[in-house]
Symmetry: C2
Subunit: 236 residues, 2 copies
C-alpha cells in the first residue's frame, strides 16, 4: 500500500455496532409505547429505510440534507409499523430518540487499531453520518479521528462518486493516496471506481445473531479480520 | 457562560504563532534566493496579502477557493518585493514553501488549555485555514481538536456571517451555544453580530517584537490573558 497517506472509514457497521446501539437506546422508548417489541427488530426496521432515503438525495430528486434529518423522518415513518402513532408522541421525545445514532459503541477492537493507524496515517470517517453525529459519537466513545469528513463535508452521499472524490480533494491528495476501510463490498466498489485504495474488514456481527453478512466479494487491496490485522497490514 | 456547548477557535495568531513559524520555514528558501532578507519581514509581507485575497471571495467577486490556493498565489505575488523572480523558482519549491502554514507551532500555553476545555466542551477550529491545512497543523503539533470546522466546511470566509452561522448549523446548535475564542476584535465582533458568545484572549507576541496588538475593545463575554485563564473561565 505504498503511497497511502490517509485512511478513511465507513462507520455504521464498520467502526460501530449500529444495531446493538440503536436497540439499546430504543428499548426504554419501546417499553413505554409498544411494550413487547423486540428492540433489535425495531433497529432493523429503522435502518431499512436508510438506503431509500439516501437514494432520494443521490438521485437528485432531493437537495442534500444531513443524515440526522433523514433519520428523524424515517423514525416517524417507522413507528406505525410497531403500532405507535407518531402524532401521539411528543416531538422532543422523538428528537431525543433520534440521537441514538450519536451514541453507538465501537466494535471492541476498533479503538486500539485506529490508535495504531493514527500514528502513521491521517484517519477520518468517510461516513454518510453528518458532522455532529460523528463528532458526538467520537467524543462519547473516544474515537481518535484526526478530522470529521464524509457526506456533509462532501455534500454528497456514498455511493455517489462525489462523496469519495471530494474527500480526496479536501485532503489535497490523489485518490490513490486515500484508502477506504469498510465492511461492505458496495462501498468499496464505488471507492475503487473513483481510484481510491480499498480495505475490507470482516464485521460478522453487524446484522445481529444468525445473519452473517457477505465476506469480501472482490480482490480488495487489503482484507482483514480485525482492526489488529488491519493495522498490521498497514505496517503500524 | 451557561448553555455554551462548543468552543470554536480562530487559529492564526490565536492558537498558533504564524509569524515565527512562517519565518522559520521561509529562512532556508530566502537564504538560497534572497540572502540577507529578514524572514520575519517576509512573513509579514506574505501575510499582508491575506485579507485582500479573502476580500475577493467575501465580496462575491470570486467563488470560494481554499486558503492554500490563496496563500500560493500570494506567495508568487510577494516574491518580487524581495527581488525574487517567481518564474525562476521551480513550482515544486514554492508548493513546498506554501506548506509553511501547515507547520505552525501553537503558543506555549495552548495545548494544555485546549486539553482542559476538551474535557467538557466540543473544541474545533473556526479558521479561514482549509481542512488539510488545519489537519496537518494539528497532527504535527498535537492539537486535540474534536473536528476540523471553519471556512472550507462553511464555504465562506470570516468575517462573513455565513462562516459563523453555518458552523453553528453543522453543530446543530443555536449560535448562543457556541463561543468563538479569538485574539482579534473584528472576528469577535462579527461572531457577536451572529449571536455567538465571545472570548478574547491576549496574544501580545502575534505581530513580532515591539508591535503589541490591540487589547479587547469591547465587553467580550470572557477576556483571558492565557489559555489557563480561559479554561478556568469556562470552569474546567
Amino acid at each position: 500500500m505504498t503511497g497511502v497517506r490517509a485512511l478513511v472509514f465507513d462507520v455504521f457497521g464498520t467502526v460501530v455496532d449500529w444495531r446493538s446501539g440503536v436497540a439499546r437506546e430504543a428499548a426504554p422508548f419501546l417499553a413505554r409505547h409498544a411494550s413487547g417489541t423486540d428492540p433489535g427488530a425495531f433497529a432493523d426496521a429503522w435502518r431499512t429505510r436508510y438506503q431509500p432515503a439516501l437514494e432520494e438525495v443521490r438521485s437528485g430528486r432531493r437537495p442534500f440534507v444531513r443524515l440526522d434529518v433523514l433519520h428523524r423522518e424515517n423514525l416517524a415513518a417507522v413507528l406505525p409499523d410497531f403500532g405507535i402513532d407518531p402524532a401521539g408522541v411528543p416531538a422532543a421525545e422523538l428528537d431525543e430518540l433520534n440521537l441514538a445514532w450519536h451514541r453507538l459503541d465501537p466494535w471492541p477492537d476498533a479503538i486500539a487499531g485506529l490508535t495504531r493507524l493514527k500514528s502513521r496515517y491521517i484517519i477520518a470517517p468517510l461516513s454518510n453520518g453528518n458532522i455532529i453525529l460523528m463528532l458526538d459519537m467520537a467524543k462519547r466513545a473516544g474515537i481518535p479521528w484526526d478530522a470529521i469528513l464524509g457526506a456533509e463535508v462532501a455534500q454528497a452521499y456514498k455511493t455517489s462518486p462525489e462523496a469519495y472524490l471530494r474527500t480526496a480533494d479536501v485532503l489535497a491528495m490523489r485518490p490513490d493516496e486515500v484508502c477506504l476501510v469498510a465492511a461492505h463490498n458496495n462501498d468499496l466498489g464505488a471507492a475503487r471506481r473513483c481510484g481510491l485504495r480499498t480495505a475490507f474488514i470482516y464485521r460478522p456481527a453487524e446484522n445481529g445473531p444468525g445473519r452473517t453478512p457477505p465476506g469480501p466479494e472482490h480482490d480488495w487491496d487489503v482484507i482483514a479480520h480485525s482492526y489488529d490485522e488491519l493495522a498490521t497490514a498497514f505496517e503500524v
